[in-house]
């Protein structure tokens, strides 16, 4: 392979700078003792303190985390079962239909998902608030879990199941001790992605959240519409920090499990 020319390096450097500049800009001004994102006066942690002293914001933060964890858990269960079910469908036409229906929510724009769920919840009579937000997050996370688990199931050797059955394992044993351990990395990846989708979502939540319930994204939106507040900068500093931790943790985790399964083969 040819070496990168200097101009190529400069180009890449500019792209990286542009990608990261706004994020660092936000975090930088979160330490500003002034109250705007323009002139930096002196270093302070006041805005971070304000985040942790604002009980309303803390409730919203807890709401966000609870919705993310619960919806990721429920959608992982439904999605994993769904993937196992899809694999057993022999009729290829039926299977393809299921798979295309699976992808509808992945490719649909958030606005359409949000609007159609708003109609659905209102018609069924689900009160807008925690329940509707949780259901919506479960709904759009399920297909992601399916897509993460399915490849693992497809690459699994069928004779593993046959061997277990021949050796006298019950169906439950086959499920718990052969299939689930084998597809475990896919399940974890699905859970993790569902978690990040839920934490990140704004548009769908914005449609199905009522007056009394709010998640972090929705709250940031209303704060941002009201104008610049360095509390938002402090929140973004925290979010950035947590994101980096999660990414590092995820890569550490996946590289460890792939090494482990690699060693077993």
């Amino acid at each position: 392979m040819s070496k990168l020319s200097t101009s190529a390096k400069v180009y890449l450097a500019i792209v990286f700078i542009v990608l990261y500049a706004p994020i660092f800009y936000l975090v930088f001004y979160s330490f500003n003792s002034g109250d705007s994102m323009t002139n930096f006066q002196s270093f302070t942690l006041d805005h971070y303190k304000a985040v942790f002293e604002d009980s309303r914001l803390l409730v919203i933060l807890i709401n966000t985390v609870i919705v993310a964890l619960l919806s990721a858990l429920i959608s992982t269960i439904i999605g994993t079962l769904g993937a196992i079910g899809i694999v057993t469908v022999k009729d290829s036409k039926m299977r393809n239909t299921l798979l295309s229906l699976n992808n509808v929510l992945i490719v649909s724009p958030d606005v359409i998902i949000g609007a159609s769920f708003l109609i659905l919840f209102t018609m069924v009579g689900i009160k807008l608030g925690f329940a509707s937000v949780l259901l919506a997050h479960v709904a759009f996370s399920v297909p992601i879990v399916v897509l993460m688990v399915l490849p693992k199931l497809l690459e699994m050797n069928k004779s593993l199941i046959d061997a277990a059955l021949d050796l006298g394992a019950s169906k439950k044993d086959v499920m718990m001790r052969v299939i689930l351990p084998y597809i475990q990395p896919g399940i974890f990846a699905g859970f993790f992605l569902a978690l990040t989708y839920s934490l990140d979502d704004f548009a769908v939540t914005f449609f199905v959240t009522g007056n009394g319930f709010s998640t972090l994204s929705v709250e940031i939106y209303s704060m941002a519409r009201a104008g610049i507040s360095l509390t938002v900068n402090a929140i973004s500093g925290l979010v950035f920090f947590v994101t980096i931790l999660v990414v590092v943790g995820y890569y550490f985790f996946t590289s460890r499990t792939s090494k482990r399964t690699g060693g077993q083969q």
Partner: protein, 269 residues
């Protein structure tokens, strides 16, 4: 053998499909046929074809086109150079990380950056020009959208470039093709799949953006997404909102058919 237990595993999943995939679409179509009082009507469709909505649809497409074009223009070289770096997976990860930061926070950053006293205006003043109001213009809207979409465009292009067999490039060069000809006749056609999926993941969301238009473009830019949000949450005219949603779904299907990779067998033209 164990199909019975596995079939029952399918039950909650199929229920999910029925409730959250089929029912919502059916409901959107149903609501598009209702007027404000819940009476059956085709008026929503009639008003969609009035000049107001047609203009809005056209401008939405125009902005989505601009956003996709500039995103592609920046992303292709980036992905190309990335595949040639030493630790390319690490660099790719660094490109992807910003896409994990909440979209709202990144958009919010630009309110400060583009502000009248923000860093860009400060830089402009250094060169002796007057500061300009950059926020609430369509240029800032396109800029922020491109910024947001760059990682999503780079990823599929990077993957298709990475899969490209380098011997094909050596062969082209051995046979006397210039670097540019090699790129135009070998690299670009073979990575077209990546470009197509990149366009897909940028163009459809770009049609339906509503948060960036509100925060960055003021109310100067109205996309199909903004219109749907407006009809549902502000005007409370769910019928008209659903009608716009029906058309957005139609456009989405058309775009996916155009950019879809259905002719896998017919690689050679």
């Amino acid at each position: 053998m164990q199909t019975k237990t596995s079939k029952s595993a399918l039950f909650p999943y199929v229920l999910w499909i029925a409730l959250f995939v089929i029912a919502p679409i059916a409901l959107v179509v149903y609501y598009s046929l209702l007027d404000l009082h819940g009476n059956f009507t085709l008026n929503n469709y009639k008003s969609f074809f009035s000049s107001v909505y047609l203009k809005m649809t056209l401008s939405s497409f125009w902005y989505a086109f601009l956003i996709t074009f500039f995103t592609l223009l920046i992303s292709y070289p980036t992905a190309y150079f990335l595949t040639k770096t030493k630790h390319k997976q690490l660099w790719l990860l660094l490109i992807i990380i910003p896409s994990w930061i909440n979209l709202l926070l990144k958009t919010y950053a630009f309110i400060g950056i583009f502000g009248l006293y923000g860093p860009i205006n400060a830089a402009i003043e250094v060169f002796g020009f007057d500061p300009k109001q950059m926020l609430f213009t369509d240029i800032s809207f396109v800029f922020v959208s491109v910024y947001i979409f760059i990682p999503f465009m780079i990823l599929p292009i990077f993957n298709s470039l990475d899969r490209l067999n380098p011997t094909l490039i050596y062969a082209a060069r051995d046979l006397g093709a210039s670097a540019f000809t090699t790129f135009r006749r070998v690299v670009l056609p073979l990575t077209m799949d990546g470009v197509k999926s990149g366009i897909q993941v940028v163009f459809i969301p770009a049609l339906s953006l509503f948060m960036i238009t509100r925060l960055i473009a003021g109310n100067r830019v109205i996309t199909l997404g903004t219109a749907i949000e407006q009809q549902f949450l502000v005007t409370q005219n769910w019928g008209m909102g659903s009608t716009i949603a029906v058309f957005l779904i139609l456009f989405m299907v058309i775009i996916m058919l155009i950019t879809g990779q259905k002719d896998k067998g017919g690689r050679v033209r």
